[in-house]
Amino acid sequence: MSAPQMPVGMIEQVAGKGAARAARRRRGMDQGIRRPGWLTYLMLAVILVICAFPLYYAFLLASTNATYIAQNPIPSLIPQGQFLENVVRVLSADIKFWQAVINSVIVAVTTSISVVFFATLAGFSFAKLRFRGRNGLLAFVIGTMAVPTQLGIIPLFIVMAQLGWVGNLLSVIVPAMVTAFGVFWMTQYLSEALPYELIEAARVDGCSMIRTFWHVALPAARPAAAMLALFTFVASWTNFFWPFVVLGSSNPTLPVALQLLQGTYFKDMALIMAGVVLATIPLLVLFVVAGRHLVSGIMAGAVKG
């Protein structure tokens, strides 16, 4: 080797990502290991098929009718032609499907915004402000993640009944407005991503605490906030037990509506599967658009929501 080589990191800065990748490949330092063989890819392909098949199976059944399903336990891998017909039947079924869609959107959007806001606020405080009892309080927040709060639903239901919120979306939104997971997540992120110098600069310029938060911390938190919003959205969209208990059939969210669909039309699997597909499509779209952020979110935090 003649001239001293430029570090890859520097190549990336000077000549861009593509050049850095090429350089890494040339030097055979893609983590110092060779590419895996076809067997690895075959295994991955099998895993992928297993992961995707149940959803495709639901779609296949949703494109048929009850007679077809009874006669063909193993459906043809090519969809039959009745999907739209079944979708129309779900939408006009006696289970308030439209209302469920709207309710799910309202709950998921408001809780996502609220969790991100309050969690970032608390995360900013825990990560960057000094106050008495900080470590103890943060430990407490983390500890609450291990508390099975689902077991408190009886008093929670009594409280909601007293407030007159049974059957009202507020009963689902308010308890989910800020989560321990969110606070912990934002604390972790901000303690690394937000330099003290920025905060001090804002303070010297005469910003109050809340303005410092709004103009310095919140923008710095954006990447983690987006991930937190995603996780909250998915969790809210798929949540069943509490909405099922407190909302009931009068004002359902989507999972509750699906359960009603099953209870009412249990002989009509094509209809039920059309409902399943409809309820899953929004999250699938979200997944295609932002799935990579979910992946890096899980891997960065390694926390289960």
């Binding site: 060779r34 991955l44 983390i142 077991l151 008093p155 005469g206 798929t238 699906l258 997944f287 289960k304």
Partner: protein, 340 residues
């Protein structure tokens, strides 16, 4: 009080000798802001987390109906009544059976998938996203899909079995088979998710440690079991504890396993949370007894979580865990070694 907005000037610029309102406000701001900002979480947790859990204990020692409300203190009668019901013990048994069938294979599979994903793959993100697809399917939807796949008559799985010459299984009729089916739903939704957590931990293992083992002549398998697995310990503890807390409260999947939602004719797949729901909101409408069930389950979860922690740390204690791993160590890391 000056009608100024929140723009507090730096303390030095204020020069009035008497009471300095601006610097007082600024000091108050600095002192109170941290508490004010964390207050929403603590308020909400107190209201919808801690209070209900404690109040559950209160309800559980009273005669209390869904409609009738509190009808007076009756001591431990609710606990007695619950423990005397065979259904309660059946529910406990079902819950543990489903929990074991879902957690043990899931952890093993997750480690395996993580090991495969840890290879130097092309299109890494694509494969990682692939294993996460089931995560965006709601448990209720998973329940509906698998309910049909595992149908006793004309179900997908039994049809496949017939094609390869295996006898049909009564996935709903037989208790153990129904547990397997429900555990499959849980595994379907969470294995990929946990694999990504384990993968993150694997990638945090310093490469030179593994290379050193290889140089010393360890086989790949040996390296995996003697270096990688022990180094994953904090993460595995974390995954196991969270799956314990969630798994023992399982409700959605078994609730959707038939259209009635009570856990089968003989309650063969009724879990303890389903039992709690049935006692509180079903025929009995007895909140007192349902609360007793909740508290018993709470204690059980805490005990099992601690037991798991103890077991996992013993089993995988042969290797020294580095502090820089993700997962549990990271969880604890913030409480101990805090910056500044």
């Amino acid at each position: 009080m000056p009608a100024q907005p929140d723009v507090a000037a730096p303390p030095s610029s204020a020069s009035r000798p008497a009471f300095d309102w601006r610097s007082f406000r600024s000091r108050l701001d600095v002192k109170s802001a941290p508490y004010l900002y964390i207050a929403p979480f603590f308020l909400l947790f107190a209201l919808v987390g801690l209070f209900p859990l404690l109040y559950t204990a209160f309800v559980s020692v009273h005669k209390w109906g869904l409609v009738t409300g509190n009808q007076g203190f009756i001591g431990l009668d609710n606990y007695q009544a619950v423990l005397d019901q065979p259904r309660f013990w059946q529910g406990m048994g079902n819950t543990f059976s489903i929990f074991l069938l879902s957690s043990v294979p899931q952890i093993i599979l997750a480690i395996f998938i993580a090991a495969v994903l840890d290879a130097n793959l092309r299109a890494k993100t694509f494969w990682r996203m692939g294993v996460l697809v089931p995560y965006v399917v709601a448990p209720v939807a998973v329940g509906l899909i698998f309910n049909q796949m595992f149908a006793d008559q004309s179900g997908f799985v039994n049809a496949i079995f017939a094609n390869i010459g295996l006898p049909a299984v009564g996935w709903h009729a037989d208790a153990f088979a129904s547990h397997v089916a429900i555990a499959t739903m849980v595994n379907f939704r969470w294995t990929g998710y946990n694999a990504l957590i384990v993968l993150a931990a694997m990638q945090a293992i310093p490469r030179d440690i593994i290379e050193a083992a290889v140089v010393d002549g360890a086989s790949r398998l040996r390296t995996f079991f003697s270096i990688t697995i022990p180094m994953l310990r904090p993460t595995l503890i974390f995954v196991i504890i969270t799956s314990t807390i969630g798994g023992l409260q399982i409700f959605d999947e078994p609730r959707m396993f038939d259209q009635i939602g009570l856990g089968g004719n003989d309650r063969q797949w009724m879990t303890i949370t389903m039992f709690m729901y049935e006692v509180g909101w079903g025929n009995q409408r007895n909140f007192g007894r349902a609360a007793a069930v909740a508290w018993i389950l709470f204690v059980v979860i805490v005990v099992i979580a601690l037991l798991n922690y103890w077991l996992t740390s013993r089993i995988a204690s042969s290797g020294a865990a580095t502090a820089k791993l993700h997962g549990a160590s990271r969880l604890l890391g913030t409480t101990k070694g805090d910056r500044r």
